[in-house]
């Protein structure tokens, strides 16, 4: 549309509300006006000259608009980072991520005291993310649960997104603890991821929150307690068990992906 403008005659007819302007010219004119300041200025001049009703309208509007705009403040520049963060971790999760941190810290202290550092990390790693995962879907902890569950995004995508947020917090924590307590990531990372994936898979059947609680309890009863009682690391944490954990991770991932529809029904499990 470069260089060509609408004729004053056409603009005049437009301003005066002429209903007989041919369809294609009208289309072209209105579309052109949206992008051409020169023609808008011509329109303003024409309206001022030939259409007093428009001028009156504009004055009336401004007389109401001016005080109204004084009475309300413009929107502050967005706290975009806060909003972006909320799409990863719902506000209900934040305190529980804090609790996870506390637990990790506590474990480190205990480990220092009992000089069995690496074992503590290995024992805790698989269930530490579960606290955050449970929090992300626990009705009691997420005040807007009922609202969230009825939205299109509630489903596997959101579950994975929130789980990822949990892992992003928990895994570095474990890495740091592990570094201090000489627990190599190669030993606990795979069980940790596999257990988390397994929780999601089971969660597709009984509800992610319930699955997280149940599996955390199972781990506590069948792995942590015996390990402490017998002063010997449970067999599932043995390096030779790692391939099994790998298989668990893959199987869980497959289950989660193939049953992705189940996650849109999270609410109906309660």
């Amino acid at each position: 549309m470069s260089g060509e403008h609408a004729s004053r005659q056409l603009i005049g007819r437009y301003v005066l509300g002429d209903a007989d302007i041919p369809g294609d010219e009208l289309f072209a004119l209105e579309s052109h006006l949206e992008s051409c300041a020169v023609c808008r200025a011509r329109l303003a001049d024409t309206a001022a000259d030939r259409a007093p009703a428009v001028g009156l309208l504009l004055e009336n509007v401004w007389s109401e608009l001016e005080p109204a705009s004084r009475a309300s403040a413009p929107m502050p520049v967005e706290r975009r980072w806060a909003r972006w963060l909320a799409t990863w971790a719902s506000p209900g999760m934040v305190p529980w991520l804090g609790v996870s941190t506390l637990v990790a810290g506590l474990a480190w202290v205990l480990a220092e005291v009992y000089r069995n550092g690496s074992a503590v990390v290995l024992l805790l790693a698989p269930i530490l993310p579960l606290l955050g995962v449970a929090a992300s879907w626990a009705r009691g902890l997420d005040p807007a649960y009922e609202l969230v569950v009825a939205t299109p995004r509630a489903g596997l995508y959101l579950v994975l997104r929130r789980t990822l947020a949990v892992l992003v917090v928990v895994i570095p924590l474990l890495l740091v603890c592990g570094a201090f307590l000489h627990a190599s990531p190669g030993l606990w990372l795979l069980p940790c991821l596999a257990y988390t994936a397994g929780t999601l898979a089971v969660g597709g059947v009984i509800g992610v929150g319930r699955a997280a609680t149940a599996l955390a309890l199972l781990w506590a009863v069948f792995v942590i307690a015996p390990s402490i009682g017998q002063q010997r690391l449970s067999i599932v944490l043995d390096p030779r068990a790692l391939p099994v954990w790998g298989a668990v991770l893959v199987a869980a991932a497959v289950v989660v992906v193939t049953r992705s529809r189940a996650y849109t029904r999270l609410g109906s499990q309660l």
């Binding site: 369809g23 294609d24 010219e25 289309f27 072209a28 504009l58 608009l65 109204a68 413009p74």
Partner: protein, 176 residues
Amino acid sequence: MDEEQLVRRVAKGDRTAFEELYRLTSPWLAVRLRRRCSDDQVVAEVMQETYLAVWRAASSFAGTAAGGSAVGWVWTIAARRLVDAFRRRAHHARTPVVALHDVVSPAAEEEVLAETVGDDLGGALRRLSPELRQVLQAMVLDGLSVRETAVLLGVPEGTVKTRARRARIAMREALS
């Protein structure tokens, strides 16, 4: 200063920029709205709401439209406010739509902005019956959805869809 820069300054609370933006864009907006609604009071209401929204939410434009036009953004706000105003009145059965006139198509004495609308398309548009053209204007030019168009024109959604389909067929025939 162009409109985009003005909007960015409005976002920071610059009242002078707001007044200037109003001065530059309100004549165009008023004329365009008056061609869709015959009640000046409704137009005034819609314009007030639109510019108030512009004042309050200017920073959301600066945020989203990278390369979008400020004037286009103002129109999207105004169009929806217009539809809302019609909805409010539809309940009270006072819908102030612009009356349809039969489009008489004079010959080429009129200056045509030929580059925007090609000749075939232009002719087809010209020959469309008024109701079909109205639907096309609402949906294509004003950017309204089927539901919003139905409210604006005061016809059922099914009718809007039928007319839109017929218009598309007519236009496609013109191009082939």
